[in-house]
């Protein structure tokens, strides 16, 4: 096994050296480190939610069926934060801490299932548009502009009205409004990269257009996309929470931070904890992704290095 690792280290020597240097830069960036640790923290909380939460708060639809795994416990309605219920309880007497913990799952799921598909669509289209330019490129970019002009909120409302209110529908709406940003970033990158001599060199050894686009050009244009995707993760979580808050996203009863704020807001001055703790969770998550994104930008931008 040791021989395997030494062989691995020898093969990836230069990449490891770069990584170690990047890690050195990153470690000395206090805010970025804080962001990374918080992201890891929230992710772990979401991952191990059943172990952390004292209670399973889900009473929403599971697989299309409404599953009652709990009884409304009005006896423990709106208890203030205590040793037993760290964040207090809400209207139905459910432990708010459990809901916030499970909410991390929902948020991460929304973030991942929006950002990655949007990134995939955006990068592929942007690469094609940038490489071919002229007719094909202009067409793709104008279509992108059209999608860019659709407000996320209105589209989400329309989709919710047609397809019904669910997290999955919210994700469709967000993917549709999110991919054009990636297309634009990649388009700009590819426009400058396609004039580089290594592209001409690739062509002169007989590489075809697909190979040039996806291997030679796209691989060199990914770092701004990664930075954007990282901070977008936070924004997607925020937007989804906002949509749920105004009653477009998660159906009532889901452990979703935006929805929890909305439900708690009705009892705001007296039972403040039912809104404040989910709000703090959103704040921490979005801030964490923004800090991480900024940190990555500092690392990946060669002009800010050394």
């Amino acid at each position: 096994m040791a021989s395997f690792f030494s062989a691995f280290a020898a093969r990836h020597e230069s990449r490891l050296k770069e990584l170690r240097y990047s890690w050195f830069l990153f470690r000395h960036n206090l805010l970025a480190m804080a962001g990374l640790l918080l992201v890891i923290f929230v992710a772990l909380v979401g991952l191990f939610a059943p172990l952390i939460a004292p209670q399973d708060p889900s009473y929403a639809t599971v697989g299309g069926h409404r599953v009652e795994v709990w009884q409304p416990n009005y006896a423990e309605q709106f208890e203030s934060p205590s040793a037993e219920h760290w964040f207090g309880t809400e209207f139905f007497g459910i432990d708010l801490f459990s809901m916030v913990v499970y909410g991390a799952r929902t948020s991460f799921m929304i973030g991942a299932f929006v950002v990655f598909p949007a990134m995939l669509i955006g990068v592929v289209l942007g690469a094609f548009a940038g490489y071919f330019g002229r007719g094909i490129g202009e067409t793709i970019m104008r279509i992108t502009d059209i999608f860019l002009s659709i407000p996320a909120l209105v589209l989400a409302m329309a989709i919710a009205a047609v397809l019904g209110r669910s997290i999955v529908n919210i994700m469709y709406a967000l993917i549709i409004t999110w991919w054009p940003w990636y297309t634009r970033i990649v388009y700009g990158q590819v426009l400058s990269l396609r004039e580089k001599q290594f592209v001409e060199a690739a062509r002169s050894v007989g590489a075809g257009p697909l190979r040039i686009i996806f291997r030679h050009i796209t691989m060199n244009s990914l770092s701004p996309v990664i930075v954007q995707a990282t901070s977008d993760f936070g924004y997607v979580v925020l937007t989804a929470a906002g949509l749920s808050f105004i009653g477009l996203g998660a159906p009532v009863g889901t452990a979703e931070w935006g929805l929890m704020i909305n439900e708690g807001a009705k009892y705001m001055p007296n039972y403040w904890w039912s809104s404040v703790f989910p709000g703090v969770a959103i704040l921490v998550t979005v801030l964490a992704f923004n800090l991480l994104g900024d940190g990555l930008r500092d690392i990946l931008d060669p002009r800010l290095r050394r």
Binding site: S3, F4, R11, S14, F198, A201, S204
Partner: protein
């Protein structure tokens, strides 16, 4: 070295459509390159040397550039009539090109070895696939016999403990006997992987451009066949790097371009372009970006490679010294036209075109022993014409000391002054006493 003509360019015209009008970047070039020969192309900046090179490979960006007339016959085929796919089969395989800037001509995101392997995998797919299948069968055989091995480290050298063949770092199976190197879990999953690899390679053998496999080659877990191909190609990559005198080719193959010096990058570039042993290598100012000592090494290397592979070289430069040292034949270009073409001795010894004459006179000389008087350096008067509006007649006539009315009216055609010495001039020096 035969006398067979490898590449023959006739009446090549490449124009660029710009906002201001049509730039006649190349206006009638004739060029012959024989097998194994080195032909030089000299001229001022902007006279169309690089465009000529790009036109031969049909790499002129279109639009705005366009080859409007002429024929480029390579091994008897006219490159102008070929489809893109056919051209891609020729580029890098039979004709390759070295670029001026080794800093930017290598892709910063990939290892040197990967970039060389790319060209090999593109053009020698059948051979490499067959070799990969052979290697795969050896591994299957070894599995059946239950042969297992672990690399025996004796100092720097690794050997397979089953057959004593040299072992490669990171290889899952011995290249010699196919015995498996890796741990318990890997061996358990191996049969599945092997079956998939065999299917993929068999498909590739039939159709090297199978679209699905081209996609699978990027998917972790499914790209085993691609990795095997790359490992098979690795031997050739190392050989290519060794042929350009790169020390520790194994280590350099795993390095990224930014880790290498300019000279090393240019060597790697040459290795990449020579990997498929092309018949013609176009070197577009290969040493301009390098310092003088490295320049000498690179040129020496190119001479050696030419001797061992018989590749013809089209050497583009603005350094007359490089041409004189390396080339059998020289073409002198001026403002998109070929002014003079002939063997290096005749062109430099008895230049017939006034422009060539002027160029040779403009080389600063320090004669040993002679008292250095303050003598002004000879220059060719005037400037290069704007190719949007080239002068009528001979394009050199506004700067030519021998020009007369005929020169401004009539375009001089390339004609044979002596056998093998072509000049496009109405009043060549050394004839008619001009």
């Amino acid at each position: 070295m035969g006398d067979e003509v490898l590449l023959s360019v006739r009446g090549l015209k490449t124009h660029f459509e710009t906002y201001e009008g049509t730039v006649q970047a190349i206006d009638g070039i004739d060029l012959d390159i024989e097998r194994g020969q080195t032909v030089g192309l000299v001229g001022e900046t902007g006279c169309g040397k690089s465009v000529t090179a790009l036109s031969i490979l049909r790499l002129v960006p279109d639009p705005p550039g366009k080859i409007v007339a002429g024929a480029i016959r390579f091994k008897g085929r006219d490159l102008i009539g070929l489809t893109d796919a056919e051209l891609r089969g020729i580029r890098g395989n039979q004709i390759s090109m070295i670029f001026q800037e080794p800093m930017t001509a290598l892709n910063p995101a990939f290892r040197i070895g990967e970039q060389i392997a790319e060209s090999l995998l593109r053009h020698q797919a059948p051979r490499l696939t067959r070799a990969a299948i052979e290697q795969l069968e050896r591994e299957v055989e070894a599995r059946k016999e239950g042969r297992r091995a672990s690399p025996v480290s004796s100092g720097e050298e690794w050997r397979c403990s089953a057959c004593q063949a040299p072992a490669v770092h990171g290889d899952p199976a011995c290249a010699g006997c196919g015995a498996s190197f890796r741990g318990f879990f890997r061996r358990l999953l191996r049969p599945l992987g092997l079956r998939w690899e065999r299917r993929a390679l068999r498909t590739l053998e039939k159709d090297p451009e199978d679209l699905y496999l081209a996609l699978f080659a990027y998917i972790p877990g499914l790209r085993g066949f691609q990795r095997r191909l790359e490992r098979v190609a690795h031997t050739d990559v190392v050989a290519a790097l060794r042929s350009v005198r790169i020390p520790e080719p194994d280590r350099i193959a795993a390095a990224y371009p930014f880790e290498l010096s300019g000279g090393m990058r240019q060597r790697a570039m040459i290795a990449m372009m020579m990997a498929c042993k092309p018949d013609l290598l176009i070197a577009d100012e290969p040493t301009t970006a390098l310092d003088v000592t490295v320049e000498a090494q690179i040129l020496e290397l190119m001479r050696e490679l030419q001797k061992s592979t018989g590749t013809a070289i089209l050497l583009i430069t603005h350094d007359l010294g490089i041409i004189a040292e390396n080339c059998q034949a020289v073409g002198v270009m001026y403002a998109g036209t070929l002014a003079e073409f002939g063997s290096a001795e005749t062109v430099f010894g008895a230049p017939a075109h006034p422009y060539t004459h002027g160029l040779l006179q403009a080389i600063p000389k320090i004669a040993p022993g002679e008292r250095t008087r303050r003598r002004r350096l000879f220059i060719v008067p005037g400037t290069v014409p704007n190719l949007l509006y080239p002068p009528p007649g001979c394009r050199f006539h506004p700067r030519c000391p021998y020009a007369d009315d005929q020169c401004s009216d009539e375009v001089p055609l390339l004609r044979e002054l002596r056998p093998g010495h072509l000049v496009a001039c109405h009043h060549p020096i050394g004839k008619e006493g001009s």
